[in-house]
């Protein structure tokens, strides 16, 4: 069964455990600046919103890649960047309308959420279940995808 990250901003306290778990899992360092999930802070409203790639059906990043460095993992449904193939052209970083593919200047490659291969570290680290890894049929993902489709450059048939 396909699973996806489900984010409930109402539960987020802004602790950034997800960012540390992500950067540790992927970069072996506790460094929010290198996290693939990011918590945005609406200070004046007292609101925190974690946000990362929705692994959208459009896969803008995948289609924009000139060298087939981004592929879909059939088991997890995640769009994954193959470091050995990525040339660092950054086209995917501007192609993704969600702003969730980012360039890593240290490595000269791009980074994005790959669901940690099916066991996302951010969800495990979240103390309030604001980030969970759930059955993809759970409503949230479909809503996000519906939105993604709405912005699609090529409209649906």
């Amino acid at each position: 069964m396909l699973r996806s990250l489900h984010i409930d901003p109402q539960k987020c306290t802004g602790c950034l455990q997800c960012e540390m778990a992500c950067s540790y899992e992927n970069e072996k360092v506790f460094n929010p600046a290198k996290s693939r999930i990011k918590v945005f802070n609406f200070h004046d409203e007292g609101r925190f919103v974690p946000y990362t790639c929705t692994q959208c059906a459009e896969a803008w990043c995948l289609h924009a890649c000139p060298v087939e460095a981004i592929t879909k993992n059939k088991l997890t449904g995640a769009m994954e960047v193959a470091d050995s193939v990525c040339v660092g052209c950054k086209v995917c970083t501007i192609a993704c309308p969600f702003g969730t593919v980012n360039y890593n200047e240290t490595t000269g490659k791009v980074i994005k959420c790959d669901l940690c291969g099916g066991d996302p570290a951010c969800a495990k680290a979240c103390p309030t279940a604001a980030i969970t890894y759930v059955d993809a049929n759970f409503t949230g993902l479909e809503r996000m995808r519906a939105w993604a489709a709405k912005t699609s450059a090529g409209a649906r048939a």
Binding site: P66, E68, P97, A153
Partner: protein
């Protein structure tokens, strides 16, 4: 069984072939390219030049059997002529081929500016893998290289040349670097950055002539009279679409082949995609050539859907670019030059080479330019192309333009999720 022929084996062609195969499993799909290599990406050439990847790293699809296993016939050949009435095309190798649907995605080729000496040995364009091999042979560390043109393509080549350790001089006719992507402030920042890294940049400068020299293999004479010694001259001065083989087909064209909402040209059965096509621009509603990878891939996909009988309307390509000039990363989106009566906001941090400007039309963002910013820049596309009504966030962005993601989330994501 439908016979599909795709002319041009760049990204638009390959994606179209794959989409046709997926959409019409019974169809006959032929992809014709005139270069000897397996289909590759020009975008990757600069990275080949600096040795970051080998030639196979430029290939659009890595698996050797990719095309065969999908039943996509790849022909190494050149199309000489098309008889649109008979739906038949003629190949350089002598054969002819009938088609039901034809997709033209032959891209463009570099223009050779009308400058005396432009054809001398040692003067190269940087377009094909073959060009790259020639440049690599001459651009040894310490070599004197003159790059003519600091547009988008020129700047990408600039990066690769400078990283090879050559003595580089860049000439640009316009008053700034990347004039068609960056405004004067942003272009100026990029110029100052490049100069700080040892590249000589001469803007508002034309080449009067190139000649064989004594002290150096080549001499580049500037319009002001200065003469530059060079071991290599690289010309990156604009491109022209590859459409000559369509003479007589009666396809309407301006700067490229004009295409409709379904990416069909004025001649039924002939579609166009990628750099060769002049199609719907999302931002202006007019017809523009957007010679960028994402447009090529979207064109390819949607043209293929239409060719396979799945009517799919194209909402328009979105003009955007991202550029890396010696580590300074810049990007531009949509109507970055603004619209009449629109509002804008600008953040300039010249000391740290950071810049952001946003253009608004009413409560929607319509364009943007960013320099020195690499995180979450894609959301500029989302905000602009999504036509996001910013509401109170417009005022927020006018005060604090960097809160783009917050604007996006506040106006979309949380409203959706909440």
């Amino acid at each position: 069984m439908n016979r599909y022929v795709i002319v041009g084996a760049g990204p638009a062609g390959v994606i179209a072939a794959e989409t046709l195969r997926d959409t019409d499993p019974a169809g006959d799909v032929t992809l014709i390219g005139d270069e000897p290599e397996r289909p590759y990406s020009r975008m990757a050439i600069p990275y080949l030049l600096i040795g970051k990847i080998g030639e196979e790293g430029t290939h659009l699809r890595k698996a050797q059997t990719h095309y065969d296993s999908r039943g996509i016939r790849v022909l190494r050949d050149r199309v000489e002529r098309v008889d649109a009435g008979a739906r038949r095309l003629f190949l350089a190798s002598g054969g002819a081929m009938d088609y039901d649907r034809l997709l033209v995605c032959t891209g463009s080729r570099p223009l050779r500016p009308p400058v005396p000496g432009i054809d001398l040995p040692g003067v190269h364009t940087c377009w094909t893998l073959d060009d790259a091999r020639h440049i690599a042979a001459r651009a040894a560390p310490g070599a004197r290289v003159v790059l003519v043109g600091a547009g988008f393509v020129g700047c990408i080549v600039l990066e690769a040349l400078a990283l090879r350790g050559v003595h580089l001089t860049v000439l640009e006719m316009g008053d700034r670097m990347v004039p068609r992507m960056m405004n004067p402030t942003a272009g100026g920042l990029i110029k100052r950055w490049c100069e700080g890294r040892g590249v000589r940049v001469l803007t508002s400068t034309r080449v009067a002539a190139i000649r064989a020299g004594a002290a150096a293999p080549l001499q580049v004479v500037l319009d002001g009279g200065e003469v530059l010694d060079a071991d290599l001259v690289v010309s990156a001065a604009g491109v022209a679409p590859n459409v000559e083989f369509l003479q007589g087909c009666g396809i309407d064209r301006e700067r490229g082949l004009l295409i409709d909402h379904h990416l069909q040209t004025s001649v039924p059965g002939i579609y166009a995609a990628g750099d060769v096509a002049q199609g719907r621009d999302f931002s202006t509603g007019g017809l523009e050539v957007h010679a960028i990878q994402p447009t090529a891939s979207e064109h390819g996909r949607i043209a293929a859907l239409n060719m396979a009988g799945v009517p799919t309307e194209y909402r328009g390509s979105f003009n955007m670019n991202v550029l890396d000039t010696l580590g300074l990363i810049s990007s531009s989106f949509g109507l970055w030059m603004g619209v009449p009566g629109g509002e804008s906001v600008e953040m300039v941090d010249a000391e740290r080479f950071r810049y952001l400007q946003l253009q608004f039309d009413g409560e929607r963002m319509v364009g943007a330019t960013a320099v020195g910013l690499t995180q979450h820049v894609g959301v500029l596309r989302g905000l602009i192309q999504g036509g996001v009504r910013l509401g109170p966030w417009k005022a927020q962005l006018l005060r604090d333009p960097l809160r783009l993601m917050e604007a996006w989330l506040a106006r979309n994501f949380t409203a959706q999720a909440a």
